[in-house]
Amino acid sequence: MYKILVVDDEPQIVRVMQGFLIKMGFEVAEATGGEEAIELLRSDIKIDLMIVDLKMPKISGIEVLSEMNKLNRKQPTIILTGSIDTSKYLKELKDFGYTIKDILYKPVDLFALLDLVKNKLQIA
């Protein structure tokens, strides 16, 4: 079973995605905020895919991505954002090797999320 790490500072968003992904047959690890995410990334849990919100207080999505790189974790990642103006982050995201195709805009249609998850994990 694939394990997905869901990161958002808003607990209800985490809950919604978690509930949905579990229903769809995934295992879910949750992190409410960047700190928890980094803690999990530093532990030795298996993560097959990460879904991370860009704009979070204290530790942002970009910082989580950067930490992930440092830890040499290479799982595919989906980026969530509430603003269409990602141009601020786009350069940094590009430096990390992400493109517009890796970004989903809130409010996210859960089935669109599912499509992208499957696509990234290369499951039909």
Binding site: E10, I13, S83, S87, P107, V108, F111
Partner: protein
């Protein structure tokens, strides 16, 4: 006898001297007068403001070059044009205020400054500030007026206001996205359950659908407020327009709207966010369609205008009043029952993000021309 003659000569000599003195004096005053006139002329011709001196009948004694530049009309044209006030101030409300100003001036001698819109000879609408005062000239009352062009200033104010509004809207929209996702997500999850009650199922579907609509509105709001060019691509503008026309063409035909293409061939390739530009074309076309409920003609033309690529969308629709024209870029401003008032705000944001310009010309009951100017050079 000789003595008498002598005295007479002396007398005459004296008169001649006096006359000469007077003549010299006069010459000096005339010179001074000419000098002062030329100084006045220099002032009048150098000053940035339009200056006029006119009487109650509307005859202009002075109509300086700045005024000619401002209005496009020469003094002679202004003096011979019947009803010049109505030609210059096309807005009846402005005409009313002009007359009110003249009345106040005659009664009290002073007048507040008034802001008016003038229509120049070449059809531009300019915003001007007018100060007037009463002067006496050969015992008659005449008006001295100064006119300042504040069009640019007004535009800037408007842009600043829109930018501020944009910031606010962006912050708000951002805050709404999370709750919206929580609502729609929960509705989606609930819909995956076995639900016996059809009503409950229907309710959940409605919640989800409405969330999608809200998302749509917010996306447009965000686009307006934080216009950002996405990925730039080199495109042939005619092809990009054609792609959009291809999508809506049939639908427009059904509404008795003919689309005439007047494309200039071999225009330079430009770098744009094609998707966003398509949205602008779509919005402009839809507005034209909505302005022609009984059908009509839309003419799309492309051309080169200096360092810009120019795209015109011209319709034969209802046109707009000045009041409407002044507000079309405000978010939520709409005259339509089911309008969102976001179309043109979004368009304006997108074009601005391309360092371009979006302009409108409109005549009530005749039609409207929307003009997009896009800079040819990448940096703009």
């Amino acid at each position: 006898m000789a003595k008498e003659l002598d005295e007479k000569i002396k007398f005459l000599q004296g008169r001649i001297n006096k006359l000469e003195g007077k003549l010299l004096e006069r010459k000096q005053t005339e010179g001074a007068l000419r000098e002062s006139e030329s100084r006045l002329y220099t002032v009048l011709e150098t000053i940035q403001e339009g200056i006029t001196l006119s009487d109650e009948t509307g005859h202009f004694y002075i109509y300086n070059s700045a005024m000619e530049k401002l209005t496009g009309y020469s003094r002679e044209e202004a003096n011979t044009c019947p009803d010049f006030i109505k030609v210059l101030y096309p807005d009846p409300q402005d005409q009313q205020r002009a007359l009110q100003g003249i009345k106040e001036l005659l009664e009290r001698g002073t007048c507040r400054e008034v802001e008016m819109r003038i229509l120049t000879k070449d059809g531009q609408l300019k915003c001007i500030l007018i100060w007037s005062s009463l002067a006496l000239y050969k015992g008659r009352k005449i008006f001295l007026s100064a006119y300042r062009d504040i069009t640019e200033h007004k535009e800037m104010e408007k842009r600043e206001r829109l930018a501020q509004l944009g910031e606010l809207v962006a912050d708000m929209a951002h805050e709404v996205n999370n709750p919206l996702m929580i609502i729609s997500g929960n509705a989606q999850i609930s819909l995956m359950e076995e639900i016996q009650n059809e009503n409950v199922k229907e309710n959940l579907k409605i919640i989800f659908d409405e969330c999608r609509k809200a998302k749509d509105i917010i996306q447009r709001l965000l686009k307006f407020s934080r216009p950002s060019r996405g990925e730039l691509r080199e495109i042939d503008i005619n092809k990009s327009i054609e792609a959009v026309v291809g999508i809506v063409g049939h639908q427009f035909e059904l509404s008795s709207i003919e689309i005439i293409r007047d494309y200039t061939k071999d225009l330079p390739i430009i770098s744009v966010d094609e998707q966003q530009l398509a949205e602008v074309f779509m919005n402009l076309l839809n507005n034209s369609k909505e302005a022609m409920p009984k059908g009509g003609v839309i003419t799309i033309s492309t051309s080169l205008a200096g360092n810009f690529l120019k795209i015109d969308f011209k319709d034969t629709g209802c046109g707009m009043e000045n009041e409407v024209m002044g507000r079309i870029f405000e978010p939520f401003f709409t005259t339509k029952e089911k309008g969102t008032g976001l179309g043109l705000s979004v368009c304006c944001g997108i074009i601005r993000a391309h360092n371009g310009e979006l302009k409108f010309k409109s005549e009530l009951h005749k039609g409207t021309i929307a003009t997009i100017l896009l800079p040819l050079r990448k940096d703009g």
